[in-house]
Chain length 317, copies 2
């Protein structure tokens, strides 16, 4: 098998990517990560989705907390609280090293792609990790309380304000990652997987970069998405809550409809959970082959099984 | 008693300042701190001498390590080492909070004086802490191996390369701290103490700011210095090693001679250690009343006793 491209947000996507990395030959997996969640905080450049991938793919992520590093400590945040500093975005002591390293490298003139590759290498990751763009794209959450920068909404407000929509500052001017564009031109690319990440704030920013979804559509490799909605709920994060607030049905079918509406004719296949299996025929009737499997990923075996299922589906497409 | 002004470098000066703060009424002590050691590292603005004062005056300093915070942990440095980042300058996890707080405030447009006052207040310090200038002044160590930025020499090279001299980039253009200038004009200023800090790299940068030593000389308040050299050795740091390398005798008398040469007629009194008491008459004969007392400060009682001694000497002057 050749290369596999995964588009991913943070924690949920990182689970499937961990399975893919374990199933594929070393270096065969390319992950393009959402950077529209990136922000500057305490003078540091923070790239939350990239870090979720870095930590998961290097086996350093905390499974119990669900984000950040395992064995993390919080001395710096505790001391910052004593100084009256901003602690709404929790930065662990070991996590801080990543932000310091990245920020310094960016300040020294390295591109986000370069420092991401360097971090992945230093952490012993064989897979290729690519930020979706070296240019800044920033998600703005439109809510009934007004516009909020993404992390203020997501972490600061714990996704509480009902959303009315999203926009992505800088999107139109952002150049998609060069490695992504190369891969999409490459004969070596076997399939493209859209991870079970938040469609609105994790996957859309990648797909809506200038020309990206059109290139996915026109690329010979199959494009397979995995639903982040299972039995009407999101496994993690605010996707279900957002769908309800946007007036959409909260279902895997609505996720598929969203992708088909935003990126017509792009998807080759769609993977839903067994608990939604009865929806498959109706969804397949809309033009995208929809198949059900166990999509909850608690153990490495779960992650590998879902990865295998997606890869098999791609081979059959 | 009115206000007392102390000029200080890092750890040694912080000891005397701790004694002074304990002896004086809350808020009576003003400390002007050397900032020629300040530097940018890992994207953070680091002010080592200021932090020594902040930590000592708030009772947070590590007595056993001799620098930094007590109860410090090193997770961020450990993780940074795993990333192959720069760890020659050890930043503790709790210490990082200070640098993040200060760097962010400076980036947001606060002056170094303002953020220093804010940090002191947040740490519950009643004394007033002033960086010597809001403008950057940077010590360059001239050594037999060429020029070195101060922290590269001091921490990176552990003061190993023999020195041939020092220069202070930015000194001529730096405006002395406004609170310092005001104090020197004030009727309320009772005395000025020069702490037992390194004369060359901690005290000289303060005194040599445009007009500063001349104002100390012309000010009615007595100016009393404490020798950092005791029985021919420096209590802490490279002062003795530097004196030898510069071809000076390593003695309290040579420290006095240095101050008299750099800042003629500025000093009113000079405090030396009991172990050097026999030097006092000869030193007094050079025109500066020199008196001996116990200057080693291990306990708070030691610090308070030396502070009282200096204050009494000032009252008699």
């Amino acid at each position: 098998m050749g290369s596999v491209l995964a588009l991913s947000g943070g924690v949920g996507g990182a689970k499937l990517c961990t399975g893919l990395a374990a199933e594929l030959a070393p270096g065969a997996l390319h992950v393009v990560v959402n950077t529209a969640d990136d922000f500057e905080h305490l003078g540091l450049y923070i790239s939350p989705d990239t870090d979720s991938l870095l930590y998961a793919l290097s086996g350093r992520n905390s499974e119990s907390r669900g984000w950040g590093l395992s064995g993390e400590t919080w001395q710096a945040m505790d001391a910052l609280a004593q100084l009256g500093g901003e602690t709404w975005f929790r930065l662990g002591d070991r996590d801080l090293a990543t932000h310091l390293f990245r920020t310094e490298a960016l300040t020294a003139g390295m591109s986000l792609s370069e420092v991401t590759s360097l971090l992945a290498r230093r952490l012993g990751i064989a897979s290729h990790l690519h930020p979706m763009s070296d240019d800044p794209v920033r998600t703005v959450v439109h809510s009934v309380e007004g516009d909020l920068p993404f992390q203020r909404y997501f972490v600061g407000r714990q996704c509480e304000p009902p959303v009315t929509g999203f926009s992505f500052e800088g999107l139109d001017a952002a150049v998609p990652n060069g490695a992504l564009l190369e891969l999409l031109e490459s004969d070596d690319l076997d399939c493209i997987l859209i991870c079970p990440s938040n469609p609105f704030v994790s996957i859309d920013p990648i797909l809506l970069l200038p020309g990206v979804w059109q290139r996915l559509r026109d690329c010979p490799a199959p494009v397979i998405a995995v639903s982040p909605i299972v039995a009407g709920v999101a496994i993690k994060g605010p996707a279900a809550k957002m769908m309800a607030e946007l007036g959409m049905p909260v279902s895997a079918a609505a996720v598929l409809a969203h992708y088909q509406s935003a990126c017509p004719d792009m998807l080759t296949g769609f993977v839903i959970d067994l608990s939604d299996a009865t929806l498959a025929p109706e969804m397949t009737a809309t033009g995208v082959k929809t198949v059900a499997t166990a999509t909850l990923m608690k153990t490495l075996d779960d992650k590998r099984a879902l990865a295998r299922f997606c890869l098999d589906l791609a081979r059959q497409s």
